[in-house]
Symmetry: C2
Subunit: 335 residues, 2 copies
């Protein structure tokens, strides 16, 4: 397949390398000339079978592409989609941004306006962020065994488009999770966006006390690791998903209010034990174990049910009538 990657940061750069390593013909573009130069130098040093081309315009990148991977931050996404539309691109498009509702809206405005579908779109999100960013941090192995969400909107996304992108992404070793933009945004608010807010609040609070700053060890290191992420990226991700993040943050704040109440009792140690036990029991069974592989019909309802119970797709059959799927073994996360 001919794949274009627009935006060569950590995720785009890793996708560029991973698609090339998987045998696709890959064209990369970044708006920053210095990043293009770095990516071009790296291409010359890559094994001959896994090289990519770095081009100087979006048009050159998408010229022969069957699939365009837009790997720019959310604030830049609308502009790139408009460029694809202006260039008359009519193949498939996917993205890698960490919120999917706002992306769906941008796609409706730029690619699917007036019911005139210029290009097919399948929203994506590889769950593989790192606190390092930029092309120099790119790693072709970043997606191995990583959950990679691909949005399947009932009555909107043609299942054929979804299966094409799913086949390419499973080829990188990723676990493809079928879900909708709304369900995705609710889930990542809890497991990614709110954790960034907690980490930041903790780091900023501890920084006001030098003794604390010096004593801080393992629980602080891990609890604040993602606080070092670039503020602009985290703001785009949390602020671009504000409704779901508010809801998830309020749930965590309600849990913390319960802990606060336990601290206020006459027996805070005894009062905290059951509160702590809930989270401890849950965390002990995470990550969920993979069950045995099964065949599922490649239909939207079956795929979305799979995502809802925490399952994923590992391969798309050649005839595209079935997928190989894995459900987690049924150690239920306690609720």
């Amino acid at each position: 397949m001919d794949v274009a990657v627009i935006g060569l940061g950590l995720i785009g750069g890793s996708a560029l390398r991973a698609f090339a390593a998987a045998g696709h013909r890959v064209f990369g573009y970044d708006a920053d000339p210095a990043t293009r130069a770095t990516a071009r130098t790296a291409a010359a040093q890559a094994p001959g079978t896994a090289r990519w081309q770095v081009v100087s315009t979006v048009r050159d990148a998408i010229d022969s592409a069957d699939l365009v991977v837009v790997a720019v931050p959310l604030p830049a996404l609308g502009r790139v989609l408009a460029q694809l539309a202006a260039a008359g691109y009519s193949g498939l498009v996917t993205d890698v941004t960490s919120v999917k509702g706002p992306v769906r809206d941008l796609v409706e405005r730029h690619l699917h306006r007036q019911h005139d579908r210029l290009a097919g779109f399948v929203g994506g999100h590889p769950m593989s962020g790192r606190e390092r960013s930029g092309f120099t941090a790119a790693d072709p192995g970043l997606f191995a065994d990583c959950a990679w969400v691909l949005c399947l909107e009932p009555q909107v996304t043609p299942v054929g488009d979804w299966l094409t992108v799913a086949a390419v992404v499973t080829g990188l070793g990723a676990r493809v999770v079928p879900t909708t933009a709304v369900e995705h945004d609710r889930a990542v608010a809890t497991i990614s966006h709110v954790p960034h807010l907690l980490a930041t609040a903790l780091a900023a609070t501890a920084a006001t006390d030098r003794l604390a700053w010096s004593l801080a060890a393992g629980s602080f290191r891990d609890g604040t690791r993602v606080a070092a992420s670039p503020p602009g990226l985290v703001a785009a991700m949390c602020g671009g998903n504000a409704d779901a993040v508010r809801t998830a943050l309020d749930e965590v704040l309600a849990a913390l209010a319960d802990a606060r109440d336990a601290l206020d009792t006459d027996e805070p140690i005894a009062a905290l034990v059951p509160w702590l036990a809930r989270g401890s029991t849950a965390r002990a069974v995470w990550p969920p174990l993979a069950g045995t592989a099964l065949e599922l019909p490649a239909r939207p309802d079956a795929l979305l049910r799979l995502g809802r119970v925490g399952g994923w797709v590992t391969a798309v059959a050649d005839d595209r009538r079935t997928v190989t799927a894995v459900r987690p073994v049924t150690v239920d996360p306690p609720s």
Copy 2:
């Protein structure tokens, strides 16, 4: 020196191994016969120069001891201190529990009652917890370059006692941080106890959604790592330091309320950037870098000032008139 270690969990077991490896004669005791048997078997497998003895009573452990390290959880500490007093032990005692105010009160009740100082006491806390617990997780290298708090209470702790314990602990490679029980408890509330509460609240919240549970990746893994800790231990540590934890939790909740307000604005992305930047800038300069070593007079005022600016002691001079100290280089944690 003859050292007795009472309680052979992760910290006590590691101390047992580390003191033995540093050349001390070490006696270990645990209330649990199975733990004693495990520790005895491990002793037989240790190098001849780094063996320890495991005995079956507290009395046997402390019989010839110059220093008793009490490494039991807070709820068991009073009973052990009473046993030391009942046995007429008159050497030095230190502990490793993660709250120091309640320990100071127990020492006053059991060891220093009626101004009759039965034994010298220096409260301690190695900042080296791990999510694994028990003797089988013990590691003699656990304390290398780890911050180890030793409490120096003005007008209460004889500086000679403090220096004796500090000399032994720096011999394990630890960075000894001089502070008071009150200042310690305030600092660890922020950098250890509240992080446990945040991790637990996050794990419990995410466990209610199977899609979220399946998508959870790096930021969730690190942000919830310590949620898997034994609830009883975490409850003792947070509930035993309830006042300071309440204060620190309220500071973090206030910071999160600011983030909540930013999410409520018409421009949540722009509003979040300055809020995120504070924590991000702070986290980027943690851990603080060590400055050059300097000599300090071994006096309580100089030692406590060192702790307050985030510094630590690396060695005690043989004449015990000075210590070798390190201050962090002055990249101020932004506040």
